[in-house]
């Protein structure tokens, strides 16, 4: 969920930049190292970023009728890990701000924090934990993406609530208001995106499972197990 340009007042947008920038730089450092070791990764990461952009510009069928778009960052986190995802989503968010005027420049820090860092970290942790616990692969993917979306939504609501605390009840009261109102679109959206991502992974495993092994998303033995179960 994008916060639009000019929405966050003065101390807050700078603070979110302070939060995001070190993490983005850490991501860039990791990226630099990855690319200098394996140069063929560079074009691959570029097309992955373009894929996230295009995925996030597709309209999803929605229950409530409002238009909703997948964020794609949960999927990116599963595929590339959170550090690289932070960098890719920074570029994607910058392009979204400039191409389709979604988001903004001063709110870029806050948007990267919610969509590029905290959401993907949730997705990644849930995915790793779920795979270790030997839960069904598709269920894990569903949970990871859905919770990444919910984490993003809670963080965005928190960012807004911190910037605009209610007169009565302070941050907690306005957080409740923002959470309640955005829940109408965000709760079904996360479930949809989880289902969509699980379906995407199902098709990818059917058609091009070696890509997933190469990205170390899944081990060979786990892949064989999923394929065996499907047949």
């Amino acid at each position: 969920m994008h916060i639009f340009e000019g929405f966050l007042p003065s101390p807050w947008w700078q603070l979110w930049f302070v939060f995001s920038i070190p993490i983005i730089f850490f991501g860039m450092y990791r990226l630099n190292k990855l690319v200098s070791e394996k140069r063929e990764l560079l074009p691959l990461l570029a097309v992955a970023g373009a894929f996230i952009f295009v995925l996030s510009s597709l309209k999803m069928p929605s229950v409530t009728g409002s238009s909703s778009h997948p964020t794609g960052t949960g999927m990116a986190a599963i595929l590339f890990g959170p550090a690289v995802t932070a960098v890719l989503s920074t570029i994607v968010l910058l392009y979204q701000a400039i191409f389709i005027a979604h988001g903004g420049l001063t709110t870029l820090g806050a948007n990267v924090a919610s969509m590029g860092i905290i959401g993907p970290v949730f997705a990644y942790v849930i995915y790793k934990a779920g795979m270790k616990a030997n839960i069904n692969f598709y269920v894990v993917v569903f949970l990871a993406t859905a919770f990444a979306d919910w984490a993003t939504y809670v963080v965005t609501a928190t960012q807004l609530a911190l910037a605009f605390p209610a007169e009565v009840g302070g941050v907690a009261a306005s957080l409740k208001a923002f959470l309640l109102i955005f829940a109408t679109t965000q709760v079904p959206l996360a479930i949809m995106e989880g289902a969509l991502t699980a379906l995407i992974f199902k098709y990818v495993i059917q058609v091009k499972s070696d890509a997933l092994v190469e990205l170390k998303v899944i081990t060979e033995s786990a892949l064989n197990k999923i394929k065996g179960a499907g047949q």
Binding site: W13, S36, G49, F51, S57, L58, V87, S174, A211
Partner: protein, 260 residues
Amino acid sequence: MTNILDDYALVSPLRYRNNWLKIAIVMFGVLVGVSSQSFIPPFAIALCMSFATVHFGKTSFKFYLTLLSAPAVFVLLSVVIIAFFFGSGNELLGFDIFSYHLGVNTGGLEMALLVFSRTLGGMSCLFFLSLTTPMVELFSVLKATRLPDSFIEISMMMYRYIFVFLEVAWGIKYAQTVRLGYKDWRTSLTSLAMLSTTLFIRSWEQGEKIFISMSARCYDGKLIFFEEKRPIRANELVLTCTYFAVVLALWYLTRFYSIF
């Protein structure tokens, strides 16, 4: 699907103006807008930037209005929340829902108006940039930032591939739609998953291919572009300085101004 504003920027007459000047104008508007304490400067910025986009940039006014209404849902929802929960002062409007009192007071209304105007001002600055400056022109600016090369390379290649994949996605989506792939909720979900998968596989294969083809052309991790030099003209400079002066004066004069 989404309008890619880059298409409009490519044909804009303002495309051939100095990039740094345009970025300075946009950054100025964004920063003054976000730091202003009254709703007047952001509205003035919005007015000036919209005028510049529509008049100098030759964007159709109708199209510009539809663009501005895009973020409306998010902004209006949030502004309403702020109006009800924020601020103190005399109550202007109030009602009870389920024995829970909701009211708008002067402080809240003023804050809501301020946030609304800031968003409007900021969005019009962003639209000015996106409707007059294609991304290709901004790469030289990006290169001057001294961010790591790999980051800049990835952004440039990503930009190129966004259009390739958008075209693929559109094609598939049309093909699916005429075959009733989006007739109801369930089929839409399956169709969308198929579309995304094809896109993922396509991008993966494209990534492998492009590495081979670029290596064959001696790619060493740095793409080099031709940069045109575009000096700032005197009249542009004068106009920009007048704009800066007017907005700064407004900002200074309205520091302590409040409507209530």
